[in-house]
Each structure stands twice: as structure tokens, then as C-alpha cells.
Subunit: 123 residues, 2 copies
């Protein structure tokens, strides 16, 4: 039996990974769009706009590996590959939405702080 410290250290590693993941450039955007329902690769790319094939592929692979997204291939020609959120993926939206809503509610305070800070630096 490992001491509690070990377990908490491991937890921190996972927490850090998740914060980093949701903080990357595309993950939250992809998850948000998939929150509307199942979607194909090209449709996702078109709707997001500005994401390269490579980054969409990488982002989806990461999400699939962690169990947030499921990938379905219809064996046809040309192939149709669709993605959708798993239950875990939908649940992830809850805490992420928490930060988003907190930010939206506090934009005014943040912006005021920035302007005050920038003024104090220039003056």
C-alpha cells in the first residue's frame, strides 16, 4: 500500500495533464462542436474553420485515447468517419463550462485590471 502522498502526486500529474489539454488551442472548440451531436471529419473542420487537417487529427486522437470521443468508420468508398462525444466527454463539458461561465461573468473585472495595470506601467 502506497502512502497518500504518492497518490496525490499522481493525481496532480493527471490534473495538470487535463488542464493543459483543455488549455490547448483546439480541444475545447472540438468538444464544444461535438457537443451538438455526431459529426464527420470534414464537417468538423469546415465548421471550426482555421484548423489544419493535422491538428484536427491530433486533437481527435488525443480525445479518443482519453475516452472523450468515439470514432466510427463506415466501410464505404470514400470512407465516412464520424466522431461523437462519449458519456465521459459530455461530462467533461460541465467543469469546462464552469470556467467559461466564470470568465464571461468576470470579463469586466479582468479588463479593468488590465487597463489599470497597463496605465501604471506606462505612466
Amino acid at each position: 500500500m502506497k502512502p497518500a502522498l504518492k497518490a496525490e502526486t499522481e493525481d496532480c500529474s493527471y490534473i495538470s495533464q487535463m488542464l493543459s489539454r483543455v488549455g490547448d488551442k483546439w480541444t475545447v472548440l472540438v468538444v464544444t462542436y461535438l457537443g451538438e451531436g455526431s459529426m464527420r471529419f470534414s464537417e468538423l473542420q469546415r465548421r471550426i474553420g482555421g484548423i489544419s487537417q493535422k491538428m484536427l487529427t491530433v486533437t481527435l486522437r488525443n480525445l479518443e485515447r482519453d475516452g472523450f470521443v468515439s470514432r466510427t468508420v463506415e466501410p464505404s468508398s470514400p470512407p465516412r468517419v464520424s466522431y461523437e462525444l462519449t458519456a465521459l466527454g459530455h461530462e467533461l463539458l460541465v467543469p469546462v463550462t464552469g470556467i467559461a461561465e466564470w470568465t464571461r461573468a468576470n470579463i469586466g473585472r479582468i479588463e479593468a485590471a488590465r487597463q489599470a495595470f497597463d496605465r501604471s506601467q506606462n505612466g
Copy 2:
């Protein structure tokens, strides 16, 4: 009066900034330590461990600019500079803790998904 779309687009920019901020390597760690109370630069660096002077400086400046941290200088020699969370900084801990707790609660499901994914890739 701007249309709603404009406002939402601007919100997304802020939300993206905040997600990116809390997703960077040191911000959450610094905020968490400062959550315990006011702390000096060197104490913060020693307790966090592994963070360079430069990155601690940059992280603190960003937090200060956004109004999450306040900086106090005692004019002495050598100078004593201490940092503490503002009210806004303490409030930020709430949604961030939300993601952290969600992650901690779901580590098992994530880890299981990863192992299943990795097995399916190798086999």
C-alpha cells in the same frame, strides 16, 4: 449597439485566453500556493520547486495584470516583495478546483480508456 454575435465572439476570445492561461505550466500551481496566503518571491520559488526565476516572474506578472494577484513592495534593502491573491484570484480558484476535482474523480475512467486505446493500436 453591437449585435449579440460580436459580443459572443469577444467573450470567446477571453474564455480562450483564460483556458490557455490556466492550462499553462505554472499558473495554477502559483495560484494554489498563494491560496494559502501572502508569500514572498523567493519563498514561492522554493516551495514550488523546479520553476525558474524568469518563469515565476512572468507568471506573476500575468496574474497581476489580470487582477488575480497583488504585489506589495516594502522599500528596504534588500527589498521584500510579497504576493497575495486578490478577491478575484480567490474566486478563480473555484472553477479551477472544479476541473481538478472532476479529473480526480474520473482518473480511473480516463486511464482505462487509454489502456484500451493503446492495446487496440498495438494489437
